[in-house]
Symmetry: C2
Subunit: 379 residues, 2 copies
């Protein structure tokens, strides 16, 4: 695909009771415009892809929030992978030659209506046999511990690492360091996941501007090229398999598709933003993305290989655990982080000399899972 | 774009209390497979785009319903234009060269949960100052009557025409002829729209299989090529303009974009499926799509120009008024009708010698509108 990212922006992630969904979208959009090195005229935008899980519906809110009334706006929703799918479909339209420049926006107010009711409803009504989000992932954790001698300490190390990264990220929801002991002693939510094994309910928005690769230099001397994408959805409805209990086969499929398109292998990836809604999710994703063998995720983090100065830095932004997880915004914010990392703009959390980055987003519900992987390269 | 439609299928439209969303999707999907002339192996499908407004969420239900577990599934939602946007994004991915063959599915159970609550909630809670769907369109009708001497009889003629077409369509929700007198005397819903000016609440699903144009002949000697697409979203939030009251500027923008891409003009279109959620919507769409001048929509239908044997046959399927309007399915079902019309497979409602068809879908809410136009040509 001949598609480049030329600008990215986001809001701080956190609890935004003092701002509306409209205000969050505006802030992310304006930050993306300001990030374009050589200046950017919003009139260059020809189409918009909007990702939100449940904060609004249809395309027209974006016409209002951005002032881009009359342009095409498509709304994507794909569980927690929503923002990534908005980015993916925008890239397809540009790669098809239909548009030269497109805008991607992801946004969510998790702590306000109508999104809040969505989660309350799911927790209370649909998942009425205890299958809340933490429980859905806790099942995977206990199984992984049983099969591979993974420990709560392994999980806690992921929390410690990502909180440390978050403490270095001015836009993170949580900006504090923690310790393995504190994670283990934090309030138990669903065994073996305690409070600090879980991501917060976060509000925020993120935006990315993409264009045809051959015109990217009009806008910046440092474009980031989109070189691979993969998506996979499966069903776990009533028939969850052993393989689906100790990992996410959709992550395996989506990443293999993205690696193939990018003509790269896991070893070629320099920096990773992956979906760590719970610590166990990051641990199995090391394995599913091909960074280590199945069952070795605990060892991978314990040896520091996923740390900022490790061989495969994972979630330098703080990830969902510390940066936060405003569902529709999350996938686009992963693109923002990789864009800045590949351009050397990440300040205290900068990964040294990264030229290829990978984003991995995941949606999980009792009825199935969906995973989306994107691979980007410094231009 | 080098994209072809090689197969299409749908369920009967109607009240499907005897079938589940899963069953409707299965039926539409299997009918689409069966429609591929030279046979079709479902393993050729590489990715899926799913449109539903509110009957389910995310991509994974489709993994379950179709048995295509593991494939990419994106879910689009764009108000009543949802199904059309799923089709559009699938075409972009194929045109980008990422997939050879993709499946599009649109589905809705309007008369059951969770979609039913969505409409009830909107009617009762959000639109609490009387802005129900009929009222939103009735405002446009009275304004059009005021500006252009359009009459209730003009509107009634659209209902008579589309019900006549629906009576010829075995898959239509309503299969009865009506008269201008009966329309005028039917129960008043929101002046000037009476019961027979309004589309029903319908359940149904529709599916289309698209592929790279250059491999279409492997599957059929009669492919239908996707040659133009246009989408436009705008805001009417608190600031509805005069132009937005007597028509839909988004329809104008979307159709002009599609005509430009197809290198065609309104006069080149042989058959049309357009969004007639209410009779007034069809009337203004004649004007907005460029089939007649602004204000002349009433005359256009009164002269029989939109009839099955007229110069510009509109809604040979019966349209939303008679075939029905299961929101997420509607846009895909419009593709089904045009696909069959261009291949001469429409039986008693066949438009003679049609080689170019247009679909127009529209989403309208108090906060804005969205319009999507696709143009297809016989291969």
């Amino acid at each position: 695909m001949q598609v480049a990212v030329i600008g990215c922006g986001m809001t701080n992630f956190g609890e935004h009771y003092g701002n509306s969904l409209r205000g969050l979208v505006e802030d992310a959009y304006l930050n993306a415009i300001k990030s374009v090195d050589k200046g950017f005229d919003p009139r260059d935008i020809q189409a918009v892809w909007y990702g939100t899980l449940g904060s609004s519906w249809a395309g027209f809110p974006i016409s209002d929030y951005t002032g881009l009334s009359g342009l095409p706006v498509s709304r994507l929703e794909n569980a927690c992978a929503t923002g990534s799918d908005a980015f993916r479909n925008a890239c397809f339209a540009v790669a098809a030659g239909v548009y030269d420049v497109a805008l991607v926006i992801g946004a969510e107010k998790m702590n306000d209506e109508p999104c809040q009711s969505l989660w309350d409803y799911q927790a209370m009504e649909i998942w009425n046999i205890g299958r809340s989000m933490p429980a859905v992932f806790a099942l995977r954790a206990t199984r992984h511990m049983h099969e591979f001698s993974t420990t709560r300490e392994h999980l806690a190390r992921i929390s410690v690492k990502n909180h440390h990264h978050g403490a270095l990220n001015p836009r993170a929801h949580f900006r504090f360091d923690t310790t393995v002991e504190k994670v283990l002693k934090s309030r138990m939510i669903s065994y073996p996941l305690s409070l600090l094994d879980c991501c917060p309910m976060t509000d925020g928005a993120a935006a990315a501007i993409v264009c045809r690769s051959d015109i990217a230099k009009r806008y910046t001397d440092s474009p980031v090229h989109m070189i691979g994408t993969g998506l996979s959805a499966d069903t776990t409805y009533g028939t969850i398999t052993d393989e689906q209990l100790v990992g996410f086969p959709t992550t395996v499929k989506a990443s293999r598709e993205a690696y193939r398109m990018a003509k790269l292998e896991p070893k070629d990836i320099d920096v990773v933003e992956l979906h760590d809604c719970f610590t166990i999710t990051e641990l199995v994703s090391y394995e599913d993305l091909g960074f280590c063998r199945k069952g070795e995720g605990g060892k991978f983090v314990a040896e520091g290989r996923a740390s900022l100065d490790g061989e495969k830095p994972v979630n330098p932004s703080g990830g969902l655990l510390a940066k936060g997880h405003p569902t529709g915004a999350t996938g686009v914010a992963q693109i923002v982080e990789i864009f800045e990392q590949l351009r050397g703009q990440s300040g205290k959390r900068q990964v040294s000399d990264a030229s290829v980055g990978l984003t991995h987003n995941l949606g999980v519900a009792p009825e199935g899972t969906v995973a989306l992987v994107s691979i980007l390269r410094r231009g």
